[in-house]
Symmetry: C2
Subunit: 355 residues, 2 copies
């Protein structure tokens, strides 16, 4: 089994180092190979996703990814910017199914902006389609408008689109995930305005008939954003498109109060997957040794479960993380009075010890 290690930018290298430490302790005889990605790859090779990195990722059974991005690359042309690496990996590996759990850890319930009773026990799974929608739809670009409000003016445009089989496969992923949990799927669309999401709603409804044991409901994206704020615990599995999923999964992660704790997985139809923390590269705290490595460590656990067929090892890591939280260890992002403040390396060491 081969794991590609892509630390990336900002805090990426620090947090990935801790996850690698944890993986090594498990002594599972994986082959780990590291490569540059994002801004780091641009600096060294002039491209955020060099051919060698892409090839390594393709050849691996799983990818452990840190984070990419830094303000200093904002002025680069879009194809050279760090985030193109993650878009390129998703597209080239066909990683269409993004799993974004939003879990509120009992030890961290007070870190949420929401009132305790609204988030305590929260456990939502957002499933975001990741290779379609307006992210990749063609045509896109700039042109002179020939109709609309200002014919003759310069305009920019993008194409939102979903095909029936794209919707079918992500719907199956959602229903199957729901079967293993609360048996409820909320499909989020904007069928009242968009042709794309009218089809989305129809197809999800059709696929739902194959899962009579799972309850399906439909919600407009604006309402979903409201219900997430108002009563997040009402959700079990949420399935939606790439663009809406980008927004809702981040909102949901943030309202748990512990985005520094939340892993994510992006899978293709061969269960090959990219695993990364839900948070970003946080260039402001990079190199200071204060970043929370737990989301990355938990991403490694997801990787063991989903792509490497090691559910026991995954569970061991998750229990170890639970233990260090119960011991009161906290990186600054989740620190509160009465707990013990630790840095990135100490947190990683504590997880290793708990294993």
């Amino acid at each position: 089994m081969k794991i590609a290690i892509l630390p990336g930018d900002g805090i990426g290298p620090e947090i990935v180092a801790e996850a690698v430490k944890v993986l090594k302790v498990l002594d599972l005889n994986f082959e780990l190979e590291t490569a540059l990605v994002g801004g780091a790859a641009f600096e060294a090779h002039g491209h955020p996703l060099p051919e060698a990195t892409l090839q390594l990722a393709k050849d691996a059974d799983a990818i452990l990814f840190g984070a990419v991005g830094d303000w200093k690359y904002d002025t680069l042309d879009r194809p050279l910017r760090p985030e193109q690496a993650i878009l390129g990996l998703r597209k080239n590996l066909g990683l269409f199914a993004n799993f974004r759990p939003a879990i509120c850890y009992p030890q961290l319930v007070d870190a949420s902006s929401l009132k305790r009773e609204l988030v305590s026990g929260l456990d939502i799974l957002i499933i975001r389609e990741l290779t379609g929608d307006i992210y990749f739809g063609q045509p896109r670009g700039r042109r002179i408008a020939t109709d609309g409000h200002f014919p003759g003016a310069e305009e920019a445009f993008d194409t939102m689109r979903y095909s029936r089989p794209e919707i079918e496969r992500i719907a199956h992923v959602a229903f199957q995930a729901a079967r293993k949990r609360g048996k409820r799927v909320t499909s989020v669309d904007k069928a009242n305005v968009l042709e794309t999401f009218q089809l989305w709603k129809e197809v999800v409804t059709e696929i739902g008939q194959q899962y009579p044991d799972v309850a399906l409901d439909h919600m407009y994206v604006d309402n979903a954003a409201m219900q997430l704020v108002k009563a997040p615990k009402k959700f079990d599995v949420v399935v939606t498109g790439n663009m809406f999923g980008d927004i809702l999964s981040d909102a949901a992660a943030m309202l748990t109060g512990s985005i520094g704790m939340l892993p994510s997985a992006s899978l293709n139809d061969k269960n090959q997957g990219l695993y990364e923390p839900s948070h970003g590269s946080a260039p402001d705290i990079a190199g200071k040794g204060v970043a929370n490595p737990l989301a990355t460590i938990l991403s490694a656990a997801m990787m063991l479960r989903f792509s490497l067929n090691q559910p026991e090892a995954a569970a061991r890591i998750e229990q170890a993380v639970d233990k260090v939280l119960s011991q009161g260890l906290r990186t600054p992002d989740i620190y509160s009075d009465g707990t013990t403040r630790v840095g990135t390396v100490e947190m990683g060491d504590a997880v290793v010890k708990a294993l």
Copy 2:
């Protein structure tokens, strides 16, 4: 001065009746004319926005709108569904500038899902472009895919687009609004992925140079959704496109805890406007006399200020609403222990009395 009164569906007629009562007490010699819209218009005339209603709206200086929609119309073809009325009014009247304040009333701070300290004193203004973007972009529809992941499969598609002058005019609206408030504009985009929002960001930046007294920053939409949940008070004026604005303005409204209190205005370049509560038609409580009329009454106040040049009358209404809240009167949606529960009509009467 002529006001078109469009009560609509669900709780629309009840809440608009209270706002009309308030307007009449002011004795400002407006001509009020009522027409059917939404499901109610479909029932009577077979179309959610009959020609006569549209004509009335066009001829009026302002439109007071209740709400449209009901589950029972869900199976109608999209062009006949109630929400087409509101889209048709926006498009036909060119109502491109949507003002969505998200204010946390001091009397209602505990109604928020967010912790008190995060929302107390909250006062954000979300400015949403309302006649462009993927809402109206052509082409859209269904076809057989010729490229993408599944060539040959059925697909649905929509076109996102913005032209330079469309972005310029909404940017001016935002900067001018910011000048009268906290002098900060956050422009929300997804320039890292979308061509449309790359142009958006460029144009907003350009227009911003004409407002050196207003601070401008840019935020990706996923991050904006997170920051709204985490630290909403950091925002002053937020300006964004139609689709992102739909999602963010609803999330922001909900997190104040008092969506039943929040008005909205949609203006065109002649200051003709449509005024409506930020909440929906709530068919589940329609006809029960429990709906909160205050958002509609405050929408009438916005109408007096923005379209009818009656700022004193607007301020009188706003003070009256503040007074009834301070008296402890609450409809069920904002009720809490120790306050007095009242119905729709009693609340309207109380505002009239406070005037």
